[in-house]
């Protein structure tokens, strides 16, 4: 570990130090697998979890969204962009290899989502980015959005995850999320849909004081978290992967789940 990382880590660790957190540097890039992994971790791990992950091109919509109203499905199909429903709330987001996802899973009776956002702001300051959060816990640089988040709560388990636009293709992002379909009123009275809140976006890479690669940023984040000796690195075991794949096949790849009306 090089010295400047150590130095940054110290300033970071004092803000927030959860105990016994396992950190996963998840290298799978299949959106179906990764969303299944989140659910699997939430259901089966008692320790707190932090996971870094990325997806190949995909639109990830919120649990209670209308897929047609959120996604330009023709564009997604033509450009081989997966469309996957997640189990947290919130709106539709675009993922690609220029986007980094962070997941926190914790046991907390009185969740305060603001603390995770603060944490992400700290991570951004590692690379010299000074960003602001709003009341929806979205993160902005000079008024342009770089991060959105969503949460899931079950009993005292909390899952918080967020995106970070690092060097995504913003034209694809805009086109994929530009659906011309509006849910007819006859449908909205039958079911409650969460509508995405659209914001102008930017990539973190455009605001860096010094250029840094996304992989190096990931390494900085992980090293920083591992400064706390109670935290440890974890890699999926064979059993984990098998179980996650099963969940993926049973749920996250199915039209039943993704296209539910």
């Amino acid at each position: 570990m090089c010295s400047h990382i150590q130095q940054w880590g110290k300033s970071f660790a004092k803000v927030y130090t959860p105990k016994n957190m396992i950190c996963i540097d998840n290298r799978h890039t299949d959106a179906y697998f990764n969303l299944a992994a989140e659910e699997y971790l939430l259901d089966n791990f008692s320790s707190d979890v932090f996971m870094l992950w990325q997806n190949d091109s995909a639109v990830i919509i919120g649990k209670n969204q209308n897929i047609q109203a959120e996604v330009n499905l023709d564009f997604a199909r033509e450009n081989k962009i997966k469309v996957v429903r997640r189990h947290t709330g919130g709106g539709a987001v675009y993922h690609d290899s220029g986007n980094l996802n962070l997941t926190f899973i914790e046991t907390d009776d009185h969740p305060d989502f603001g603390k995770y956002t603060k944490r992400i702001l700290e991570m951004l300051s590692l690379i010299g980015i000074h960003a602001q959060a709003d009341e929806r816990q979205s993160i902005y640089i000079d008024g342009l959005k770089i991060s959105g988040c969503a949460q899931f709560v079950r009993k005292n388990k909390v899952l918080f995850h967020a995106t970070l636009l690092f060097s995504s293709d913003l034209n694809y992002l805009t086109s994929t999320l530009n659906s011309l379909y509006t849910v007819p009123e006859t449908e909205t009275t039958k079911k409650h849909y969460v509508k995405s809140v659209k914001s102008p976006v930017t990539n973190i890479s455009e605001h860096l004081p010094e250029p840094i690669k996304l992989n190096d940023f990931k390494r900085l984040i992980l090293n920083d978290i591992l400064v706390n000796a109670d935290n440890s690195i974890y890699a999926f075991s064979k059993e984990d992967t098998t179980a996650i794949n099963r969940l993926k096949m049973e749920k996250y790849v199915t039209n039943n789940w993704n296209f539910q009306a």
């Binding site: 919130g90 989502f113 809140v197």
Partner: protein, 413 residues
């Protein structure tokens, strides 16, 4: 309804996992609830039998509300899980106004968002009574307020602005104090006039307008109409005027200049796939309406003529359907009717350009011939294009209107 997290005051019930008569044990999932950002499964705090479900799927429920009754062996139990445990967040105080001791009211993101979409300022929210948790304003309160506001004296929407944006029916139009002399007459705006006034003002504020004018030699078009008009009237039953030809030339040009058939949304340009041309129609009561020819590029001259005739007749007899004034992507206004030559029309939001048609009149004109220049009597017309300089620059705007002119100058049918 448990408090899901700090700052969350209400949620929508997405689905019940139990029904009346089901027996549950502690921690069984009772229902799924969602807010804008959080999805949650709420477990039962007790074991027993579901006796009554008080909120249906899709209903918004405030934190602390009783959502179901569970029959314990020993009697009845209301489900309102740990609502009392969590203290409400401290409302932030105003730093800049020390003498004003009143606390700034706290609003949930959902409330703020709904209000913002409807164009309701926070100052207006402050005046509304809240029925939510600790007397707070709930999303339901705001939605109800917007509904009432919308229904209060509003006539069917007068222009083809997007239906999604709810505009206040009683906009705070700027006031200049006027000195009224005796004999002045004061006229209260009718609801439609108010909407028009508001939209006009908004458009000028939203779009930096630029207007450019070209002169068109429409002699060929005039001759074409003279040749066709009696036969057209016989066959089609309606008069043939110049508007269908102008609409056709415009749709052809729009196809070549997609930025003119577009909208600006924040920092994005939305290039519209459909070409829906609105035609501004003056009404007898002095108001204005813009019926829309949907997919105007797909219609023939006679199709356009019929469409314009039907829409104009419906407009004047107040019989336009809502969908007939919706979805415009470009507007044409014909002030030539009043023998006006050119003008600087105001863009019909959320479109980005509007074409003004001037009066056609005969003028002496220089014609270049192989034998030298001659002065001839030609039919001339001005086309005025106002465009939104955020998306259309001078080169595009100028080339676009020139393209329409070229189509009309070389009119052959």
């Amino acid at each position: 309804m448990p408090k899901l997290a700090e700052s969350i005051t209400e949620g929508t019930i997405v689905s019940w996992s139990v029904k009346v008569g089901d027996s549950v044990v502690e921690d069984d999932i009772l229902f799924e609830v969602t807010t804008a950002k959080v999805n949650a499964e709420v477990p039962s705090p007790v074991a027993g039998t579901i006796q009554k479900i008080l909120f249906q799927e899709g209903e918004i429920v405030e934190v602390g509300a009783v959502v179901a009754l569970i029959d314990l062996e020993s009697g009845e139990h209301t489900v309102e899980a740990e609502s009392a445990v969590v203290a409400a967040p401290e409302p932030p105080k105003t730093a800049s106004a020390p003498k004003d001791q009143e606390e700034v009211k706290w609003y949930s993101p959902a409330v703020l968002h709904t209000a913002k979409e409807a164009g309701i300022p926070t100052s207006e929210l402050d005046r509304l009574p809240g029925t939510g948790y600790l007397g707070r304003l709930s999303k339901k309160d705001v939605t109800l307020y917007i509904e009432q506001k919308k229904n209060g004296g509003s006539a069917p929407v007068a222009t083809s602005a997007p239906s999604k944006k709810l505009l206040p029916v009683h906009p705070p139009l700027p006031n200049f104090s006027t000195e009224s002399a005796s004999g002045d007459m004061t006229i209260e705006m009718d609801p439609v006039a108010r909407i028009i006034a508001e939209r006009m003002l908004q458009s000028k504020q939203i779009s930096p307008h630029v207007t450019t004018v070209v002169e068109v030699d429409v002699t060929k078009l005039v001759y074409w109409r003279n040749r066709q008009k009696s036969e057209f009237l016989q066959q089609e039953g309606i008069n043939l005027n110049y508007l269908p030809a102008i609409v056709e030339a415009t749709t052809k040009a729009l196809k070549e200049f997609p930025k003119v058939n577009a909208s600006v949304e924040g920092t994005r340009f939305i290039l519209k796939k459909q070409i829906n041309v609105g035609i501004a129609v003056a009404l007898d009561d002095g108001n204005l309406i813009v019926p829309v020819i949907q997919n105007a590029d797909k219609l023939s001259i006679s199709g356009l003529a019929h469409s314009i005739d039907t829409l104009a007749t419906k407009a004047r007899s107040n019989k336009l359907k809502f969908e007939e004034i919706q979805g415009g992507t470009f507007t044409i206004t014909n002030f030539g009717t009043f023998r006006n030559l050119f003008g600087t029309p105001i863009i019909n939001q959320p479109e980005v350009a509007i074409l003004g048609i001037g009066y056609i009149e005969k003028k002496p004109s220089v014609i270049e011939t192989p034998e030298g220049d001659v002065i001839a009597i030609r039919h001339k017309m001005y086309l005025s294009l106002s465009y939104d300089h955020r998306i259309i620059n001078g080169a595009v705007g100028g080339a676009f209107v020139k393209r329409i002119a070229d189509y009309l100058e070389n009119w052959e049918k």
